[in-house]
Symmetry: C2
Subunit: 395 residues, 2 copies
Amino acid sequence: MKRIGIALFLLSSFCCAQATGGFKPAFTNVWGAAYPRVDDSGKAEFRVKAPDAATVKLNFWSGPKLDMVKQNDGFWTVTTPPLVPGFHYYTIIIDGAEFSDPASHSFFGGGKDTSGIEIPEQGSTYYLPQPVPHGDVREIWYSSKVTGSWRHALIYTPPDYDTQTSKRYPVLYLQHGGGEDETGWIRQGHANFILDNLLASGSAKPMIVVMAYGYARRSGHPDPDLTGKPFGSPEMMKAMQEMAQAFEDDLTQELIPFVDNHFRTLADRDHRAMAGLSMGGMQTFQVTFDHLELFSYIGGFSGAAGPMVLGNEKLDPKTSFRGALADPDAFAKRVHLLWLGVGTDEPPMMKAGLERLHTSLDEAQIKHVFYESPGTSHEWQTWRRDLKDFATRLF
Amino acid sequence: MKRIGIALFLLSSFCCAQATGGFKPAFTNVWGAAYPRVDDSGKAEFRVKAPDAATVKLNFWSGPKLDMVKQNDGFWTVTTPPLVPGFHYYTIIIDGAEFSDPASHSFFGGGKDTSGIEIPEQGSTYYLPQPVPHGDVREIWYSSKVTGSWRHALIYTPPDYDTQTSKRYPVLYLQHGGGEDETGWIRQGHANFILDNLLASGSAKPMIVVMAYGYARRSGHPDPDLTGKPFGSPEMMKAMQEMAQAFEDDLTQELIPFVDNHFRTLADRDHRAMAGLSMGGMQTFQVTFDHLELFSYIGGFSGAAGPMVLGNEKLDPKTSFRGALADPDAFAKRVHLLWLGVGTDEPPMMKAGLERLHTSLDEAQIKHVFYESPGTSHEWQTWRRDLKDFATRLF
């Protein structure tokens, strides 16, 4: 009778979700959950029921890992130091097993549905729903010959899309990071609210934003057997390259034609942008430089050119990016925007790699934007700020 | 560097997600997860990593509760008996604490993000994506004066909506159950695929489907303090009634006008239906009988008239439903469809209650449809079948 006993559930919504001593339930809580709760300094209190557990830990992916303390009522609790504003993934580790917190909404990250908590950025509203016109976010399904499967994408249409029925719009393809999926830019990133707010203030042009699923297996190609192959082995690298190429082909041969057929797009390179975060940034650089006939705006958010940022490869203007940088003036005419971003608190390899790429591009006199998000790491607040800056420079 | 180490994540997608001994990874698994896996008889194998746990249980909400068995590698496993086809919520109980399984996608149910597993119904494709035209599912946000907040709804538009730009469509308002939210009919129910398939076979008329968030607190009304009030107390019942009334007012005063302003609807009672499952069925009966000037098609999926189904109230044709049934001929002219559904294996109170209502309506000569879903309980396969039948009778 669990599902019938709705009264108890409805009742639970009344009992707890109130502010207590400066702490308020987080925006990311499920309906009625009193914990986690957050104060104005960014401290967060967590509470998990685990009466028979021996150890319970709170595990932030880009933040503290804290032991929770058992209380007399079978609940375990802990209060964090002030956290960086923005969205943070976290899990609960109970007797060595990692799970999501039932009190928070889950968000797809790390290859699974993972708890998230939102720490408000005091005075910032650019990524929050405001009393302005709101665009729709559509879920679409398209049949891909490349993968031999139905694929799912999210598509933001600007507020006037349904009323300006003869107007056509430019398109931004916007990719999630590794372990995330096509829902990330809406659920974690609030891309729709960021665009709504930029449009309302006249800071960006109306555009369609397409968020694709960033993984692909080519139709008819069985999964490779990598049993016994070490990490980074040639077999593994080959499998990853095949996957990246399948994604590129699906995007350029299936999704872009689908979008141009089903939405009122401006279907040319001058009105098509691509950007992505982390893995999505690497995909963006691969796809756009392979297809400059399709794209003229390029954004790498804490990602960009993989081998030059994370590996040892050096920028060679004559040969890198298929020679597109050999003539800086020609490049500036052909590519309307090359944009790189990184958080100042990102892991050293990412930060140093992007700074090195930025410096090398400067030395090669390649026009580009380099943006640093103050005080944030490899996390969504960095990427929200990236999108806020990047989108104003488009089209 | 967790988020940067995408290679490991991508690699994981190759290693495991293959069929083994008749068992295949469930449709509801996250990308690359080998478990849970399901065979053609509906048996499911589960596997959870919990090296330091003392006890681990598998907990189906409408099915078996099974002890998992620790293996030498720190994983716990169990195989279920054959499960009823369809979607099932489940959780993992580890040392007394209830969590979701990281290997399965989560679905909002029971007031939190909860694991789900899909057991295929052999030979059934009506709720699965097929090579037919697909409608979009849109997320919209509307500002509600009733609740004083931004509210979120999902809206299905039929495949021809964007091309037939002068065509107007009837609207079905379709509500989730208690503890679920506005995403339930798409994620768990596959309402979009059910409609796509019915439209492709010519079995239903093109319609817009609106899925609202079924909870509401009235603006400016603080949460009632129910401390010390027993379950079912007058104070609790009052709080629940206020919440139900706030939902009714939000739906009729805010959401319906928003939808009629923003979509090409046929905005009259002859082209407006409402249905819902469980709590959503009770809401449907409250809202539609309060507002027969707005609705002419009514569906209760394992829910319907709360007091008459779950309580002791008897149908009195003269007074029940605000007297709408007093004249059966007038009712049949005014209400184009009154539809009740229940699963044959639902809990006795629900099944007996709906049968009693059905019999009473027959005795009162009130024209209605009574549908029984064979072999299913208070669960999504019942409600998918309900929608499949109900939708063909609309408009």
